[in-house]
């Protein structure tokens, strides 16, 4: 470690400490709504909330304050199930919103059809972050199971992003083996033998790769990869876009049960709809999310995204089928780690 090691430790400790606790921004206003979101959307919603408050004031003359709570997607879903008064949820996985719908009944089962594009105003994908100059020459998924390559990804059991990683790898292997799922499982099993550490969340995995210098490639959300590049220095890392990846659709939903009891339905609905507006789409693209309507975004922001073949969750039969099959108790991910294999 370099001479700024101690400062680095302190800084890191503080950063991750604050991540762990999550954050809720508070202020006084006529109306307050709460957006329960997941970890990597902090920067996005900070800017979007300000834009929406401005817009709402201009349209209606009312002041609105938007609180945002961030944390792991699954953990956030559980908080809402346990009674956190979210007006809207903007999570990493459809399965998490389905869980809220099922366990609490506060969201109708057909929530996904209530907004355009399966209620995903922006999408993302999974890319590789490698060390500067790509010393191991990693170009595509096939390179990840080479003898000399170590892969960093969080645990699909605890991280929504990691589930997208897993399925993206599967999609590549399936395509490379003419649709053979058994070969795909073999590949993914090999892949996880190259994973030395399973962090619990995407930010933790980024820290492992970036700060601890562990591994040769980090499987990351595209928006997180760009953010790492921006925050931690483009001199240290490169982004490699694989030939095939998955279209990650982080969905948004109105929590009917809560907005009706709080009387905030109108503003909460407008808040989510505004994500689809020209302003919302522009902000999403600025924060490295692929906007649903790219024509609204700044062309410079769109240019940053490379073209690649994207499969979707529907190719896996949707989350209702994929979740238990791959990540449920005794599912394929558990089988990969069965001892003696």
């Amino acid at each position: 470690m370099s001479s700024n090691g101690l400062a680095g430790i302190m800084k890191l400790a503080l950063v991750v400490g604050s991540l762990q606790l999550g954050s809720i921004t508070l202020a006084h206003a006529d109306t307050t709504i709460l957006n329960v979101s997941y970890d990597p959307t902090r920067e996005l919603y900070k800017e979007f909330n300000a834009a929406f408050a401005e817009k709402w004031r201009a349209d209606t003359g009312e002041a609105v304050t938007i609180q945002t709570s961030h944390g792991g997607s699954g953990k956030q879903a559980r908080s809402v199930i346990d009674g956190l008064g979210a007006d809207v949820v903007t999570l990493a996985l459809e399965a998490d919103i389905d869980a809220i719908a099922k366990e609490s009944g506060k969201i109708p089962a057909d929530w996904k059809s209530r907004f355009e594009n399966n209620s995903s105003p922006y999408t993302s994908t999974i890319v590789f972050l490698v060390r500067k100059g790509n010393p191991k020459g990693i170009k595509d998924w096939g390179d990840l199971v080479r003898e000399d390559v170590q892969v960093i990804t969080p645990n699909p059991k605890t991280s929504g992003g990691a589930r997208w990683n897993f399925l993206a790898a599967w999609a590549w292997a399936r395509a490379a083996n003419n649709g053979d799922d058994a070969k795909a499982q073999e590949y993914v099993t090999q892949l996880f033998k190259h994973v030395p550490v399973l962090d619990t969340g995407a930010r933790g995995a980024t820290t492992t790769f970036v700060q601890r210098g562990l591994g040769d490639v980090l499987l990351a959300w595209e928006n997180e990869a760009y953010l790492s590049l921006e925050e931690l220095g483009p001199d240290n890392f490169d982004i490699v876009t694989p030939s095939i990846s998955i279209k990650a659709e982080p969905p948004v939903a109105l929590v009917d049960g809560n907005v009706d009891s709080k009387g905030t339905r109108k503003v909460a609905e407008a808040y989510l709809a505004y994500l689809y507006s020209d302003v919302g789409q522009k902000i999403a693209a600025k924060h490295y999310y692929r906007p649903f309507k790219p024509e609204f975004a700044d062309p410079k922001d769109i240019e940053r995204f490379s073209e690649l073949k994207l499969v979707t969750i529907d190719d896996f039969g949707g989350w209702k089928e994929a979740q238990p099959k791959f990540f449920g108790d005794g599912g394929i991910f558990d089988q990969i780690y069965r001892p003696g294999q």
Partner: protein, 288 residues
Amino acid sequence: MISMAARSTTRWQFRQPSVIPGFGLALGVTLAWLTLIVLIPLSGLLWRSSGLGWSKFVELALDERTVNALTISFGTALVAAVVNLVFGVLLAWVLVRYRFPGKRVIDAMVDLPFALPTAVAGIALTTLYAPNGWIGALLAPLGIKIAFTPAGIVVALIFVGLPFVVRTVQPIMEEIDKEVEEAAATLGATRFQTISRVLLPGLLPAGLTGFALAFARGVGEYGSVIFIAGNLPYVSEIAPLLIVIRLEEFNYPAATAIAAVMLLLSFLMLLVINVIQAWSRRRYGYGA
């Protein structure tokens, strides 16, 4: 526990006479408070797991992965508690018996693991022990890996458990008069005999208390461990992480089952330690 002095001579009775009135009120407050804070949450846990049915509960509890995670949790906590017992007693001894510059600062530092958010401790320790960290980089050429192995878990648990032993042993050490050692010396005991026959037996009950506390803390520790453990199933996956994983799957029954098993095991081990402790206090104890 420390104040629960054994009175082998007095007969056991429900109500100890005291000059201060208010026993009924005090006992009432004690029971109400304990019920509210400890008993109700824990019985809620047991109640939820009892809804599983016995065979389902056994199936979940004896699941290979669960057993593995429990072994790792209890094993690493035990190792860490033993290390803490040895070095905690040493540390307490130095702090009680010697005067040196900066003693107050060191004394205060002992409590830091109590105050620090465990996640912060975990991050800092991982940074140090990772293969590119200050300590990890020195060990890596020797082929020793600490971070991302069970050894890393032990390191984290040593950190969070340290104050328990020091702080329970320290006051008892302060009670031991220096004359006791001097008497032993004048009666011809060697230094080793003085330590092993005169000093340590008296410290045993307090040491065991500290050991039990550090051990219990280690079993339940989550925040600091998940950063340094590597979290690989069957290798370095601790039971609290497995509980979180089950919750993440919205699998509340499995999570409660693991929690209930941990509760049971911890309670049994603490009970055993308490019995040994009570015995050793009767046998050697100070303040009896």
